[in-house]
């Protein structure tokens, strides 16, 4: 296809601008990554490091020898795996039965779920329920109240709607009940979609911060985000107070950056595998027409 001069200018300016956008998005991550591997003495000497001359694993060694840090990583790992598994089962089970048109009460259930998206009573009533159920200071307070979201149920339901009914009928003829159909036919068919939802739930659990702040007093139960917050933000309030935190061995910045990288690693590790499902998971059935 022949391009006119106008089109050519348009294309190159467009490409350039997108490159700048990508660069701006990427730079903070790159900077943190690089500094975390920079030799602490080099970091202290230089004004800023764009590419370190001497690489070092000191900061990582230091972080990974911290018991509290490892324990909170473990807590978050537990949340992300157990929580995600529970969430997926509950969401997929509810969404599947709601997708069966013959189910009595379906309309009421759907409307009820839609309403929870539109109206939320706020933090305090939620907190009170969790407290009344005696879940304060239990790791389950971060899982059970976050099991499902109305959005995800509705999205997954419209995904199940799109599975042809004939499949189900033939399984029925072969003597399968609804439970069997769900386990043997529907779930295997929806694996890619489940992967996407699983990723979103897992990221949600991994990133949980506020619920932990609300419900957990015991620091041994803290997920990684709360620990990070203590490490990253309270140290940096030195902007406000004149007092400087007496930093130990590697300068606190390289430690902080190493902590950020370690805490982000699980997400970055699954990212490439699940990226192709993002679009699907983000909007199964949400765009009309």
């Amino acid at each position: 296809m022949r391009l006119s001069i106008g089109d050519r200018v348009f294309t190159s300016v467009n490409g350039l601008l997108l490159g700048i956008i990508a660069l701006v998005t990427f730079f903070p991550l790159y900077y943190v990554f690089v500094v975390s591997f920079t030799d602490p003495t080099e970091y202290l000497q230089k004004k800023f490091v764009l590419f370190p001359q001497s690489w070092s694993l000191d900061s990582y060694q230091y972080m990974l020898s911290s018991k509290a840090f490892l324990r909170s990583l473990g807590n978050s790992g537990f949340l992300a795996t157990v929580g995600t598994a529970c969430s997926l089962v509950v969401t997929a089970a509810l969404a599947y039965s709601l997708s069966r048109k013959r189910l009595r009460g379906r309309r009421v259930f759907m409307l009820g779920i839609l309403l929870t998206i539109l109206f939320s009573p706020g933090i305090i009533p939620h907190y009170m329920v969790v407290r009344q159920l005696g879940m304060i200071n239990s790791i389950w307070s971060l899982i059970i109240p976050a099991l499902a979201s109305g959005w995800n149920v509705i999205l997954m339901k419209s995904f199940f709607d799109s599975i042809p009914a004939e499949l189900e009928e033939s399984a029925q003829i072969d003597g399968c009940n609804d439970m069997g159909i769900w386990v043997r036919i529907i779930l295997p068919l929806s694996l890619p979609s489940l992967a996407a939802f699983g990723l979103f739930y897992a990221v949600g659990y991994w990133n949980q911060y506020f619920s932990a702040l609300l419900y957990l007093n015991d620091s041994s139960k803290w997920p990684i985000q709360v620990l990070l917050q203590n490490m990253l933000l309270s140290a940096n309030n030195s902007d406000l107070a004149v007092s400087t935190t007496a930093s130990v061995a590697p300068p606190s910045e390289t430690l902080q950056m190493a902590a950020v990288i370690i805490a982000t690693l699980p997400i970055l590790a699954v990212y490439p595998f699940l990226q192709k499902h993002f679009a699907k998971g983000a909007m199964v059935g949400s765009v009309k027409g």
């Binding site: 601008l17 009573p121 506020f210 990253l232």
Partner: protein, 319 residues
């Protein structure tokens, strides 16, 4: 055995048809109800019980007496809140942050997805997409942490660069004038790329023949974008705008909470952070529930109004 089934039969005959039909349906779909049960129970306990508990906004709730015995005080907490000078402050801050979001953050994913759509190189497009999606998956703690590491007055790299160029250091995180801009920039950085997904999907659904027709009429790349692509995704834009309006009273709690510090408290306190401070930290349950309820009701009203208006203008709306 025969007797019981006979009894059941006669019972079914005696009752109106609809009832036996109901029993039949429940029995036939028992597995579906078993599957639905945990989920429905979840919504009941964690979404509807809290909705019922908002009645403490009309009480002087005391944890020792519980909901049933706490004294009723009518709208007292609401009156107290509206009369409180904090109210205007919270309202101003919430609105300012949200309007900035609406002006800067909302259009950006649309623009970026239009731009991405114009890229010819598939590989380049993929690289850009992978990068701009990524921040969506980072927690607010990490993003606040990155902001500190980059912008802190002492050790932040941006200030180091400024100094190296012979300029003054700027207290990005402690300056009330910059706070709104900083949080909007954070939102843009975190979510603008992710926001493109939905628009890109809508764009992918446009019939290529329309582009061909536009080309025949002599439309260049820019005009095709303006006259074909943009109208094609209009309904998606409207839907997202409606949903966004419903959240105009919410500002991401974690984001603001993490960026909050004494120096910027006048511009950083929003409804959610206020509810947390007053409700959880000072244990004023009823008052803070009233504040939260006010916020939620306004939000709900806004969605319903926006949806109605959208329908008036011939759009599909959300529901």
């Amino acid at each position: 055995m025969a007797r019981t089934s006979e009894m059941a039969l006669s019972k079914a005959k005696a009752r109106p048809r609809a009832k036996s039909r109901l029993w039949f349906d429940l029995k036939r779909d028992k597995y579906l109800y078993i599957l639905a049960f945990p989920g429905l129970l979840f919504f009941l306990v964690f979404k509807y019980v809290p909705m019922a508990e908002v009645i403490i906004a009309f009480q002087n709730y005391s944890p020792f007496m519980g909901i049933w015995k706490s004294p009723w005080v009518g709208l007292q907490h609401f009156e107290r809140f509206f009369a409180n000078p904090d109210f205007m402050l919270l309202f101003r801050n919430t609105m300012a942050i949200n309007l900035l979001n609406l002006a800067l953050f909302f259009p950006l994913p649309i623009i970026v997805s239009l731009m991405l759509n114009e890229l010819r190189s598939v590989i380049y497009k993929r690289i850009v997409q992978s990068i701009v999606y990524m921040p969506h998956f980072l927690s607010w703690v990490i993003i606040a942490g990155l902001t500190f590491l980059l912008f802190a007055k002492g050790q932040g790299v941006v200030n180091k660069i400024l100094e190296a160029m012979g300029m003054e250091r700027i207290g990005f995180l402690t300056s009330p004038n910059l706070f709104w801009i900083m949080v909007t920039a954070q939102s843009v950085w975190k979510e603008a790329g992710w926001g493109t997904i939905i628009f890109l999907a809508a764009i992918a659904g446009v019939d290529p023949q329309i582009y061909e027709a536009a080309r025949m009429d002599g439309a260049g790349r820019f005009r095709q974008m303006w006259h074909v692509t943009l109208p094609a995704i209009r309904s998606v834009i409207v839907i997202l705008l409606i949903l966004r309006l419903g959240h105009i009273m919410d500002v991401g709690f974690e984001q603001i909470f993490l960026m909050y510090n004494g120096a910027v408290s006048k511009v950083a306190e929003v409804f959610d952070t206020y509810v947390y401070r007053v409700g959880i930290q000072q244990a004023q349950f009823s008052y803070s529930t009233a504040v939260g309820l006010f916020k939620s009701v306004v939000g709900l009203a806004l969605v319903l109004i926006a949806n109605k208006v959208a329908k008036k203008f011939g759009e599909e709306g959300v529901f």
